[in-house]
């Protein structure tokens, strides 16, 4: 049973196979092209492999049953990630346009999908580059010994450390005070922080210089930005494995707890992680594969990139947890030696009487003889498991936990530099895809005049993003960023991906799509692809979407704030969002989602009121596809 929604006029909107062959031979310098296959693969790998592989996956892995998490992750990678990736590659390669052009070719009513993904790419790019600005700030600050986050600054009369720092920790203080200078709630904007503004300028300028001519320049940049993270991860792995306590971390990470598989949240988190990790529905992947030659084997590419992405997630998790294990062991040792010193001081015992090995027995015997003294000491409980599961995710992992671990290693500035340059490369290569996903659709929509050079287009997009991203350089910037992260990049993407699959399978037609793939790569996609494209992947995406919608709609929206005056300091304070935030949330999540039906309705109304011009427009559109390709050929000759 093949469901096919009637789609009149499709033949005229898309190039036929014969036309594609012609274009393949004639088009020497028409549409931009990859210099070689390696550039394309590195760009796609760079786009997919991002900060989430380093700081989200290890946390999920550890919190959802360690080694057992691999099962849902790998299963959903195969059932959800690979099919969607193959779909985006194939449709981009076939229709040879950016996201807006592709959906417009399939059906003019679907332009909303393209516009929606452009909008999401834009909003995500804005806050993602701010994280890169933070990484650059830390990188700039790594060129000194001792590192500025390794010790608390001294107060004015030099009798003690600054109170905020002494009560929390030097890394917390450097992050919340010196970097963000964070206010206590999102309403307190606090003004722009100049050091953050100039780091943001630096981040956007670096991005612009790499994207300035589209894939001509990004294709060169990815040789470094996509490969350097792997080099640094390997260096950190070797360094991490030689540190004390690293095996504790790795064991903790992979210890399987099969009971977690019964928890639906595990499966949903795995599905969401696979989905976001592949940077699907941003439109960037469609755009990148549209520069490929028509007979490029997109099936093989999709499988290869999925394997690389999965492998990178696991590799990064091993590295991160070896370092976290080291940090937890150091903290445990510090805690224990603090307790030992307290006991030695209280009971006037000579040094060396209490060691780590006999600590428990000695404590017990002392407790039985003089419990009041023990009580008065208020010894801390040193729990290795608790320290290991202090596994944080996101910016907390990178800027607090990991930086603390680095300060305990010898030659810390070197490790800090390496770590932050790795994060920088990971983030930058993802940003290339994001910028591509904004610039090319805008070109397709003819927002900019055709005579403007590519440099101006990318420059304007970067400038516009920078201008709005200044929100994140305020004192309350981090709260805004968390808001964007939760709402701009989550729900709309799921809707777009679902619409993409429905559009390709049922509006474009799965039969036609199968024939296209047979034409492009030489064989028809097998039963696995058919099943996943038509039923399994849309179902998985729908389930994840419904879960997210329900969980977001039902719970009270809160955020965590750094408030030195709060009672639980240094624990972060949970605050409720003010009322006007809901407007912002609606703009972030609702607008991209609603654009899809709204544009369809608009197109329908416009078509029905201008029905007389329809036939005329049809013949023009036939001509227009071809002339546009020829015109690009001509203009590039000049």
């Amino acid at each position: 049973m093949k469901l096919q929604i009637p789609n009149p006029g499709l033949e005229e909107r898309i190039p036929s196979h014969a036309e594609l062959e012609e274009l393949e031979e004639v088009q020497a310098r028409g549409r931009p092209q990859w210099d070689n296959k390696a550039q394309y693969m590195l760009t796609c790998v760079g786009f997919c492999v991002g900060l989430g592989n380093v700081w989200r996956f290890p946390y999920l892995c550890q919190s959802h049953g360690g080694g057992a998490f691999m099962i849902p992750f790998l299963l959903l990678l195969v059932l959800e990630g690979v099919p969607l990736l193959h779909l985006e590659f194939a449709i981009g390669q076939r229709l040879r346009k950016a996201s807006v052009g592709v959906w417009r070719s399939i059906n003019p009513y679907l332009v909303g999908v393209g516009i929606s993904s452009t909008l999401v790419s834009y909003m995500v790019g804005m806050y993602y580059n701010t994280i890169i600005a933070w990484v650059m700030w830390y990188f700039f600050n790594s060129f000194q010994d001792p590192l500025p986050w390794s010790q608390c600054p001294v107060n004015e009369n030099r009798t003690g450390l600054v109170s905020e720092c002494a009560r929390s920790s030097p890394v917390d203080y450097f992050w919340y005070r010196k970097t963000l200078n964070t206010s206590t709630k999102i309403e307190d904007s606090g003004g722009l922080q100049w050091w953050m503004v100039i780091c943001l300028i630096a981040a956007w300028m670096v991005l612009w210089v790499c994207c300035i001519r589209g894939i001509e320049t990004t294709g060169k940049a990815v040789y470094i930005t996509s490969t350097l993270p792997y080099v640094v991860l390997t260096i950190f792995l070797i360094r991490g494995l030689t540190l004390k306590g690293s095996m504790n971390g790795i064991k903790f990470l992979f210890t399987p707890d099969l009971n977690e598989l019964l928890n639906p949240a595990t499966w949903l988190d795995a599905g969401a992680q696979v989905f976001y990790s592949f940077s699907l529905a941003f439109g960037g992947l469609i755009s990148f594969s549209s520069y490929n030659s028509v007979h490029n084997n997109c099936e093989q590419d999709a499988v290869t990139i999925s394997i690389i992405n999965g492998f990178t997630s696991i590799y990064a998790a091993i590295v991160i947890y070896s370092i976290i294990g080291f940090r937890a062991t150091e903290r445990f040792d510090d805690c224990l030696s603090g307790n030992i010193v307290a006991l030695l001081n209280a009971f006037h015992l000579p040094e060396g009487n209490i060691t780590e090995s006999n600590y428990n027995e000695v404590l017990q015997s002392l407790n039985s003889t003089s419990p009041e003294i023990i009580q008065a000491l208020s010894l801390k409980t040193c729990d290795m498991q608790a320290l290991l599961s202090q596994g944080v995710e996101g910016t907390g992992l990178a800027f607090i936990v990991f930086t603390e671990a680095i300060t305990k290693m010898p030659i810390s500035p070197l490790w800090a530099m390496l770590f932050f340059i790795m994060l920088f490369c990971l983030g930058l290569s993802t940003m290339f895809g994001s910028v591509e996903g904004v610039v090319m659709p805008l070109q397709d929509l003819n927002v900019f005049p055709k005579t403007w050079p590519k440099e101006a287009l990318t420059g304007i997009v970067c400038l516009a993003s920078f201008a709005i991203a200044l929100i994140f350089t305020q004192r309350s910037g981090e709260y805004w960023l968390a808001l964007f992260d939760s709402f701009a990049g989550s729900i709309p993407l799921l809707i777009i991906a679902f619409c993409e699959m429905i559009a390709v399978c049922y509006i474009y037609g799965i039969d036609r799509f199968n024939k296209d793939i047979e034409f492009m790569i030489g064989h028809k996609p097998n039963i696995f692809w058919q099943a996943t494209w038509r039923v399994i992947s849309p179902l998985i995406v729908l389930v994840i979407f419904l879960f997210y919608l329900v969980s977001t709609a039902t719970k009270e929206l809160t955020y965590i704030a750094w408030n030195p005056e709060s009672d639980n300091f240094p624990m972060l304070e949970t605050m409720f969002y003010p009322g006007w935030i809901y407007v912002i949330i609606f703009i972030l999540s609702g607008v991209p989602a609603l654009i899809i039906p709204l544009v369809a309705v608009y197109k329908y109304l416009w078509k029905s009121c201008c029905r007389s011009d329809n036939t005329h427009k049809k013949s023009i559109s036939t001509v227009s596809f071809f002339t546009s390709e020829m015109l690009t050929l001509e203009t590039s000759d000049r």
């Binding site: 004639v26 060129f143 000194q144 001294v154 030099r158 300028m205 670096v206 006037h348 040094e351 001509e634």
Partner: protein, 223 residues
Amino acid sequence: MWVWIVCLLTAAPALAEPLCSKEVCDNYGYKVRISIKTALGDKAYEWNESEMFLFRATVAFAMRRYTSDETYNVSDIVVCNKTARVSFWFLVTSPANTAQLVPRGQVEAAVRLSRNRINSAFLLTDQTLQFVGILPTLAPPISYDTPPWLIVFGVVMGVVCAGIITLLLSTLLKRTRSKKNLLETEEEEDRRGSITANGRLCESLREKDPGRGHPDDVHLSKL
């Protein structure tokens, strides 16, 4: 004579005892805690009477330095309540009058002034040679004329700006060069008198790939 000596010998400890009582120590003395093994690990030395003598000598030195009174001697430093932890209390008596004790404030100031010298005599630090109640003076933070991060930022921005300018200039040059070429070919064709846009396309295509036959015919028929 012998009686006097015996009396002195028996009286001396008796005189010392009230000094080491809790009230006196609390009011005039300071507790010291020494952690040699923590500080030096394998190279730790044994704490014995000679080390104690050195300690008393350094405190006397500190008092001399602070008060500029060169009469302070090792005998003016009284040590009591020694424990196996290696912790003890010490008091300072005035050199002029052994019954009079130097006030706490003065002792603290003297120790603070010469803290570094006392620490280095024992190869210890503020944390391992601990004077309970005397806060260590923290080292001043390292201050830079230009923060190092600004220097790195400047370097990175310089490289990026140079890159941007280079790329923009090269695009600009390419455009002006191709505009010049275009003007030249237009003049050439005006002279040759050939046909329209499609014709020019055919010309350039034919030049590119002479063995292709007539691709222009196919395109014309489509349009």
